[in-house]
Symmetry: C2
Subunit: 276 residues, 2 copies
């Protein structure tokens, strides 16, 4: 593991590291923000999952999260959005392949050889973080768009693993929208039954843990009607009594200007759960 970037930020340090991932069979980068409190003792870790086309850089340069993480004493880890490197399969278009891992474990070639992002984010990366940084055993997870889908699915698939979960403009029903149908079809094959294990709206129906879902969604988001459709998840939650708060934010779009406007709310939400 090698540190490739380091910047003083709000009294703490914003770092970027690279390492060899066994699960993904390639070299990966991740970002980690260490708040001032990390110099004095273990801090809980909040994982951020980014959306389509992003690397570990977008969140750390544009979200303005460091201020709130410093105030709350929370470490934030932001992985890349897919395996990387010349020998990793890719596709035309921004919504499949590199930059578009969808946080699933692919079962179909050419993807299965490297695209195991669920296991990377849930197991391998936390083990690496917990072995190398001053962290407590508490974890939470949030993300944006494809990464909001990732946060919801990873939390729902792994009860007890995360103290809290939230999402900005998430894909909530990938089995039923174009982005998800394309990605799940490629990574998992044609059997739509197999897709359901990666769909938050399907997963809440059988969730054994009632972890509250917090979602912020801009009502001027250009992807709202075709790709996001958060009302599907709200409906599924209402059917089984799963707690959810969907906050429709008037005038906001799908950009990091939206994320930055509400990232403080989310970090405080997670900090309460992580410290509770």
């Amino acid at each position: 593991m090698e540190r490739v970037e380091s910047y003083a930020s709000f009294g703490g340090t914003q770092e970027v590291w690279k390492h060899r991932s066994e699960v993904l069979d390639c070299e990966m980068k991740f970002a980690v923000y260490l708040p001032p409190a990390a110099a004095e003792g273990p801090c809980p870790v909040l994982y951020w999952l980014s959306g389509l086309t992003c690397t570990e850089q977008n969140f750390i340069t544009k979200a303005g999260a460091q201020r709130y993480a410093a105030e709350e004493g929370v470490i934030i880890v932001a992985p890349d959005t897919s395996p990387r490197g010349e020998d990793v399969a890719d596709a035309e278009g921004y919504d499949l392949g590199k930059g578009a891992g969808f946080y699933v474990n692919a079962t179909r070639e050419p993807w299965a050889a490297h695209y195991q992002m669920h296991d990377y984010v849930v197991d391998e990366l936390p083990a690496l973080i917990e072995a190398n940084f001053p962290v407590s055993e508490k974890r939470a997870i949030f993300g944006h768009s494809m990464g909001g889908h990732g946060a919801l699915v990873l939390a729902l698939r792994n009860p007890g693993r995360y103290a809290s979960v939230s999402a900005f403009s998430p894909i909530v029903a990938p089995t039923q929208v174009p982005w998800g149908e394309k990605a799940l079809g490629a990574y998992l094959g044609d059997d739509r039954e197999a897709w359901k294990a990666w769909d938050a709206t399907e997963l809440v129906a059988t969730a054994t843990e009632r972890l509250p879902l917090l979602i912020d969604q801009g009502d001027s988001d250009q992807f709202l009607a075709e790709q996001l459709q958060p009302e599907r998840l709200v409906g599924a939650c209402e059917e089984v009594g799963h707690p959810i708060e969907l906050r429709m934010q008037p005038g906001y779009d799908h950009s990091y200007y939206f994320i930055a406007s509400f990232i403080g709310d989310h970090i405080r939400h997670h900090a309460r759960a992580l410290k509770g």
Copy 2:
């Protein structure tokens, strides 16, 4: 004048506009953040001048300024760093020509035809802003690196024009450091006496207005020793009793992570002067 970008941000709007500049004889873009208070009445305007290589985009995506501008009810205008377009002179290297206007009025060709950034930032752009946005008559100015130099020089050259001025990691003595010698030599010619009218350290000696100078400087800034040398300005201020506060920030570098960490302090500083 045409609006080319618009995003909801912290209850207000982050916009980007393009217009034809007469002073620069080219098409220019500028960014303007309108806080929620601008919907209710005139707000004062804080001008941000960016550093080498930047456009109007760097500040609005990376500085995290919108939150504080929203809290304080201040409009922030961020112009580009040079004239733009195919018929505008340019040079090899990042530190001369496009992206490197140094906020001077060039007197030597091929630069003089377009590079009149002082007059653009001090006169033409504020007139445009004041004619088209809900602004009060109060103005303040700040900037980073080359833009920190710009903020200091424009405030010192135009007494009464700005209620306050501040800078992050500014070039304070361009007549005596490599970046400045290259730019002033190109834009103004070989007569070093003419350069002094664009050097903050020279200008404080004869300043008729005692506008306090606030400067934040990272002590791990890779350009500190060769290009920035803020102690030159502190020394010049001490000789004539000009108020200055230089805050050396331990561990911080020249990046937007540094700017973001202290932008709130600066915006609050300007808000006090603008509302006073």
